[in-house]
Symmetry: C2
Subunit: 228 residues, 2 copies
DNA sequence: TAGTGGTCTAGACCACGGC
DNA sequence: CCGTGGTCTAGACCACTAG
């Protein structure tokens, strides 16, 4: 019995040995299925997976071609700071520096599409790797989208983890950039003002509205690593 | 007629509205199919896709559960600088500042697993967005893995694009960090020495050996944006 | 060992899009 | 138009594993 993974392997072999060359039209699903002696659905699943991985380009009527410039995609798991710290072999800790209700800048409210009646919460947290500062986080939370957040035990669980576990979210954006440390960041991260810091801004949206906006400044030496 | 994407949407809705809460066992494929009035295979395809995206955890006999810590993966297409520039609505250009054969630092050779007999090539390129500097790139190329590179017309095609089209590659790593501009970087990127720059180091490996090592320093204002 | 997901099949119809 | 991929279906058997 030929499984779809066998079909995939065979197709991949032909691609990699250039038996099927880039840009070339490969057999139709039915022809390939007949040749291998399996059902068309099995071939479909195999070729669909290869197309998703960028090896093939498929179009109705036009057929399936070997991709000319396979675009490789890197996958980045959305970073949970505690996991980043623990992955480095250190003990994670955090200190809440400040938490106050109801103070979201107007510009931010506009960008997130929130009315000024939306109850908000502001938190500044210092994340620690052992006893050393790891990252400084400033966060606004929409209390409508994350009810109960203002009563969360933020000394025992980080704001991010509480939200991951307790608030529904559907999509968001990550935005990495390099920025000079402010005086405030420098003092907490243990570096001079102006030091180049990796900075992450993250918007997170629930099914209906923005849940939280975060800006994280990582201590010097931070690296974002991905495999392709 | 209910398609698998409809089933997926419905399941996702129940997850995001917490109708199905994290850790909870959801209906079996057969039950869900009966409820929605479609075939089990359709439900299977939908739930399998959601599991692949990290929303669900599936195990034979044990059933399907909503993922407790929904590990969202962001996908990042391997950045081709020309595409980054054009996506911003500008005209891409580049200037080769320096190209010399045979000078790869020993530390780098070791890290890539190359012998010191490996023929190499060094290139420094300034990438332009219109007339403004966009990024400065320093690159070493393993000529064994990319034969003909030393004869490539690098004035008309960038080193990266030539390699993408002419050298097979199988895997690699991306490493983003924030770093202060060197005097050299500052002079070419039009910013003071010490300015915080987003920096990318990329290793690329072919089927047998390292193909190229690159360090790209982006001009101030660069943002790496991902969707989740 | 029984329940659940994983997969294959043969047939059918549909949707897109070259021609 | 009509070929090709995209998908649905009903049924079947298999693989894994919790209880």
């Amino acid at each position: 019995m030929l499984g779809w993974e066998d079909v995939q392997s065979e197709a991949l072999r032909r691609i990699q040995t250039r038996e099927w060359t880039p840009g070339e039209l490969i057999p139709t699903e039915q022809d390939f299925a007949d040749e291998l002696g399996c059902a068309r659905a099995t071939v479909n699943r195999a070729l669909r997976a290869l197309a998703q991985d960028g090896y093939l380009e498929r179009r109705r009527k036009a057929g399936t071609r070997v991709a000319i410039a396979p675009q490789r995609m890197a996958r980045l798991s959305v970073p949970l700071i505690r996991h980043e710290v623990e992955a480095l072999g250190a003990v994670y800790g955090h200190r809440v520096l400040k938490q106050t209700p109801g103070a979201m800048p107007a510009a931010l409210r506009l960008g997130l599409g929130l009315s000024n009646a939306t109850p908000c919460y502001t938190i500044i947290t210092l994340h620690l790797s052992g006893t050393r500062p790891f990252a400084l986080e400033k966060r606004w939370v929409n209390l409508d989208a994350a009810p109960g957040f203002d009563a969360a035990p933020l000394d025992t669980i980080s704001a991010n983890e509480w939200l991951v576990q307790n608030a529904a979210f559907s999509h968001g954006t990550l935005d990495y950039s390099a920025a000079p440390a402010s005086r405030f960041e420098g003092s907490h991260l243990g570096c001079p003002e102006g030091t180049a810091l990796m900075t992450l801004e993250r918007n997170t949206f629930g099914p209906e509205a923005a849940v939280t906006w975060v800006r994280i400044s990582y201590a010097p030496g931070y690296h974002l690593t991905l495999d392709i």
